[in-house]
Symmetry: C2
Subunit: 464 residues, 2 copies
Amino acid sequence: MLDNRIITILRDIVGKQYVSTEQADRICYSYDATQQQFFPDVIVRPADAAQVSLILKMANAENLPVYPRGAGSGFTGGSVPIRGGIALVLTRLNRILRIDQDNLIAEVEPGVVTATLQKAVEEVGLFYPPDPASLKFSTLGGNVAECAGGPRCVKYGVTKDYVLGLEVVTPTGDIIRTGGETMKGVVGYDLTKLMVGSEGTLGVITRIILKLLPRPEAKKTMLVMFDSIDGAAQAVSNIIRGKIIPTTLEFMDATALACVRQNANLDIPESARAVLIIEVDGDRELLERQATRILEIASPLGVVHTSIAATDEESERLWQVRRSVSPSLRKVNPDKYNEDICVPRSKLPDMIRAIESISNRLEIPIVNFGHAGDGNIHVNIMVDRSLQGQEEKAETAIREIFAKTLELGGTMSGEHGVGTSKAPYLGMELDPATMACMKTIKHALDPKQILNPGKIFPVDGPTA
Amino acid sequence: MLDNRIITILRDIVGKQYVSTEQADRICYSYDATQQQFFPDVIVRPADAAQVSLILKMANAENLPVYPRGAGSGFTGGSVPIRGGIALVLTRLNRILRIDQDNLIAEVEPGVVTATLQKAVEEVGLFYPPDPASLKFSTLGGNVAECAGGPRCVKYGVTKDYVLGLEVVTPTGDIIRTGGETMKGVVGYDLTKLMVGSEGTLGVITRIILKLLPRPEAKKTMLVMFDSIDGAAQAVSNIIRGKIIPTTLEFMDATALACVRQNANLDIPESARAVLIIEVDGDRELLERQATRILEIASPLGVVHTSIAATDEESERLWQVRRSVSPSLRKVNPDKYNEDICVPRSKLPDMIRAIESISNRLEIPIVNFGHAGDGNIHVNIMVDRSLQGQEEKAETAIREIFAKTLELGGTMSGEHGVGTSKAPYLGMELDPATMACMKTIKHALDPKQILNPGKIFPVDGPTA
């Protein structure tokens, strides 16, 4: 437990009602979307960058770990306070400061929920593309810290591609401003992009300038079922080779379809072994032609069924097939390890085959779905912890899957980050010199290792 | 002069024929597109990353400055060896290693000329958008180091948006690999984007993985003359507000047009006070509609003349108006300071008016043209050094222009970088904490300050 002197300092900084050591609050802020649980000693809810700065300066003086967080919807433990200390909750910083229609930018605080911003900009005919599955509750600060992705990234890129500038409180408590509100800017180092995806280990984000796009005029959703994963993967490849970049190219493999078939009330023929959900957006006439061309490209590749949405409601119904995977999964096995490997998209069939082989050999169910257009696969290793040896098998499966991913030129994480859950495997992907370079930067900016210690790299940061 | 022992080590590393201390070579590598001249002590031309690593390790041991360079076409002195030492010439690393049509990536060495890659990818129906004016001779390594831009950035973004991964030799001689060949990747810090635009101060780039796009089906070029800069600027704003993002939105102000009118054989009516060159690309039918819409948007804003190119040759002729500015400038005054400020695009009229007022008050000609769609203006302060006091006036003009740029929320450089020529003004744009953060990173990665000392930040690096 922290001594009262520190609690008093924190209360002086943010106000009494925004500091809590209550057990109920400590439980609330002890976990994220992973299954780990670690308790913070104190929960602090600052109002602005100046308060964050004072908290970090105090934490440096007192050698206290600080774990910033938004909604806690991350998949890799990025906001879990594994060494105790301060849970720095940023949800009070939740204002959309401006939406500038002339310059196509928005300025927001980190606690704004992703969907809230999307709705606000769409109301004025603009568009913020990144669409992580958690968008209805995840915050933009967390999206930036993790470099969130989503289905639309095939065409529109990831969060990083939309962050123009940041206000950041450094680990030592300095308030810095990176980037700006111009479309171009090359003065000094790109600290903006260094911060994006650094998982809160290099600074606390307190303000974000985002690039917006004009809202696409229309969209068209198609669901195409194939008799093999190879057919689906070849379709992905041929669509891209055909010079069409759809908005989304989502896939589900046979295991994911089996899951949906058994557990959701959706009509999926037995012959379907893979599904692609393909969406195109933009000019109304152009996307009609693109949709026709896409179906022509797919047709010789073992298509067993095609649905084309004529209305937004029908589009929602098609997406329902994809969205029902996650809820259905829980019915297969109670627990899962949810990985998000990413390979060059042409390597998708090789990767899926390798996962099937690992699943069969280790006799552990693995369900695959995700963003085929990016080569980004959500690999769900289904575990029943009540069975002996399942966790060890899952661990073996993860290592083998990562090894194959890297052999194919891929990465262990396309959008979820490293956090604590992938930290043990980091050395598989990063060579010692590259990791040393990253650690050098971390140590230089956070000499006492007080900000998010234990995340990404296992470091000897302080414990509360 | 360096002693013979060091020359011998360098010869052992790269081979005798790739090390020169000849006066003729020292002159060749003493300048770039700025007007500075500083002589390297030795010119070294390595063949690969391993040799670069050995050179940097030796330079650390001997405390010798190292200045990497490609074609030396930079506008801010980035490759000029201001403290002598080693000119590290990377033009032998000039292979296009692969163009992967399935994954839309290219892997290249840094010495590949930008236009060479563009031609190679266009031959297979692909597209590498960044198009700095120097593309016929600038190298991709330099483009990445400076984060080069160009007219097409309005729609397609800058070099940074196309760099997926790098092989980099750190200042201390370690070979690291950043990013990769996948479209997404969030394992560890984004060292790729940290390196892009760091002007060769954080590492020597030895390999580049670039993202490609499908080549647009067609393009359409329009030249629209306005009776005022306000009309042209309003057209830019209204086009974007009309949800159209053209490929290019280039502008020339009255001073630039006067220049072209006097010095090039092109027919430009006296009533034209500003010109926009607008290009749209993509689907053939869509761009016809976009072009029509753009002309409708512009027409009430004081249009005095419109030309629409029906063929590639006609498009080239329209671009000729823009391209003739730079050669014409030299006829106004023998020397110029070429700045490249960038403001939020809606602030363009304010900025142009401020520059006009500064030009009139200081009685020094200033010619403006550039990338209106990005708010990125090439401000040419025309100087006749034979006249007393001109340089001081130019210096005053630069400071006033930068101050106004920053007041409008802009940046001192959209695409040229800081190098040596903007280094004295850096403190106008970056607050002390932000600059300190950048310097902390530089010092951590280059403790002896041997790589590009004196660039971006004035530092006390070694002198040969």
